[in-house]
């Protein structure tokens, strides 16, 4: 196939062989892990900084402003300057806070999002681990972040933080269901939980086109639930700055706050990339039926660009939502999940199963 020119599998194998030839297999594995770890850390920082910048620019344009435009051309170095400022800020010690848990919480959030990143297929060959239960792994790991939020709220010895954390607990536990079920709807079509297989099976047609109506509904539900999972947009009850000042991270300052901040954007990137992988075909180019010429042209765009482009569009959608809608109340949030999303989701699974069974898809 045409996109084999961008295939990095052989490069990976070459690195693997080279390392194995100079050291023992155990050390080779450790070196590979270290390299991947460093690459992911870098990627994490870059994506985090870029998304903060993008959010500020997008919300600026939506609000008839220009957004950051002072540090560097078009303000592109603004987030770096902010990050340096956060690094140098004092870490305010909190009276009667549970010191250990207080310090642990930001790391748990960071680690949860970091681990989930490992299973994301960025392009053919750029895929840290390819599990046969990839989706299950991502869902399990990314929902660990709520522990960090709960710990942060509990250990800060602040009433606002505690309320925020409890809200967040209720919210994420409920919306985890919708995320899981909407992905399950998609997985009925694929018949696999392995992310590489999922992407490969969308080579001819992305799921959102192939599964038409049920896939579209599943995508919508996934978007709503995922926004709620990341504590963003109209669902930012855990921080709700007009009610709880800053919610669970009220007492955090300096670099620890930066961790929460980065993790929020990283989680957004994660859920967007999962949506792109499952519903929009991951790094697969857009192919339309038998338009060979068109498909050829599309193949020449590198898969990493396809992947990042799709993710960017979904992130933009989430930002658009955030800067348009007012916030829900906690009981309405749970009503939305249990009375609307969950029943629709269950019905949708049934429809999807029927579609797959009868072969009504493209």
């Amino acid at each position: 196939m045409a996109f084999s020119i961008y295939d990095l599998t052989s490069f990976n194998q070459w690195v693997d062989k080279g390392l194995n030839s100079v050291m023992s297999p155990l050390w080779a594995t450790i070196t590979e892990m270290a390299i991947i770890g460093v690459v992911f850390l870098l990627f994490y920082a870059v994506v985090g900084l870029f998304l903060v910048y993008a959010e500020r620019k997008i919300c600026g344009f939506i609000q008839c402003r220009v957004g950051p435009n002072r540090v560097g051309p078009y303000g592109i170095f603004q987030t770096i300057a902010d990050f340096i400022k956060l690094l140098m800020k004092e870490l305010v010690p909190i009276n009667k806070a549970d010191k250990f848990l207080f310090n642990l919480a930001p790391f748990i959030i960071i680690i949860a999002s970091m681990m989930a990143l490992a299973a994301i297929p960025f392009a053919k060959g750029i895929h840290a681990i390819d599990f046969n239960i990839g989706i299950f792994y991502i869902l399990a790991v990314s929902s660990m972040g709520v522990i960090g939020i709960l710990l942060a709220g509990w250990s800060s010895n602040n009433k606002y933080s505690l309320i925020g954390a409890m809200r967040s607990g209720a919210q994420i536990v409920s919306y985890e269901l919708s995320v899981g079920l909407s992905i399950l709807t998609a997985c009925i079509m694929f018949g696999s939980l392995q992310l590489s297989t999922i992407v490969e099976s969308q080579a001819d047609c992305w799921l959102i086109f192939r599964g038409h109506l049920p896939a579209f509904i599943a995508f919508l539900i996934y978007m709503i639930a995922a926004t709620a999972e990341t504590n963003r947009g109209p669902f930012d009850l855990a921080e709700a700055e007009s009610e709880l000042t800053a919610g669970f991270h009220t007492e955090y300052s300096g670099i620890k706050f930066a961790f929460f901040f980065l993790a929020e954007y990283m989680n957004m990137f994660l859920v967007a990339s999962i949506a792109a992988t499952i519903f929009w075909g991951g790094w697969m180019p857009l192919h339309i039926g038998h338009w060979t010429g068109f498909n050829m042209v599309m193949d020449f765009i590198p898969p990493a660009v396809w992947y990042l482009g799709k993710t960017a569009v979904i992130i933009w959608l989430m930002m658009w939502f955030k800067w348009t809608f007012p916030r829900l109340r906690i009981d309405q949030l749970l009503t939305l999940e249990w009375k609307y999303l969950l029943p629709i989701n269950l019905l949708n699974i049934l429809v999807m199963a029927l579609v797959v069974l009868m072969g009504w898809h493209f």
Binding site: F61, I62, C64, V66, N69, W323, T324, Y340
Partner: protein
């Protein structure tokens, strides 16, 4: 009936959300709607309205003459003591002793821009200045002496 209500509720909700999205989406794709001014860069074009109350000033003509007779009406009318007038007596050309202004002290830091001094001045010696960048590092710099050193009363002003 409930089912119809449930479903129509969902669709009405989505439509109302879509309307909101259209508003913000419109502004996102129309950068011409941006209204913010780039302040320090537009200093040259930035012009305040003529009536703008920046600070109280005392205009002097080219001969370093002003219109303030030192009568103290502005000091009396100021609600919060922003104006202090220190007067002296000078001997005019025809040998008479006359009250004149030594220092017209204006405390910008206390001023509430109520315009009573300017409105009450019988000789129209005070006007609004258009300066608005009043930030200084030391509060004492906000205490200004409005009459320039060596200035005298304009001819014909009583």
């Amino acid at each position: 009936m409930n089912v119809i209500k449930y479903i129509s509720g969902i669709f009405k909700g989505i439509i109302s959300l879509w309307k909101g999205l259209m508003v913000t989406g419109y502004y996102f794709v129309h950068p011409g709607e941006i209204v913010t001014q780039q302040y320090p860069e537009n200093r040259k074009e930035l012009k305040m309205f003529d009536a703008f109350k920046g600070e109280v000033t005392m205009p002097h003509n080219e001969n370093n003459e002003h219109k303030c007779t030192g009568c103290g009406i502005c000091e009396m009318n100021c609600p919060n003591g922003s104006i202090e007038i220190i007067s002296k007596s000078v001997i005019s050309e025809d040998g008479k002793k006359k009250r004149a202004i030594d220092q017209h002290i204006y405390h910008l830091d206390m001023c509430t821009f109520c315009e009573l001094c300017i409105k009450s001045c019988p000789s129209k010696a005070l006007v609004w200045g258009q300066e608005f960048e009043h930030a200084v590092y030391d509060r004492s710099k906000l205490t200004k002496i409005l009459n320039k050193p060596g200035s005298t009363l304009m001819k014909g002003v009583e």
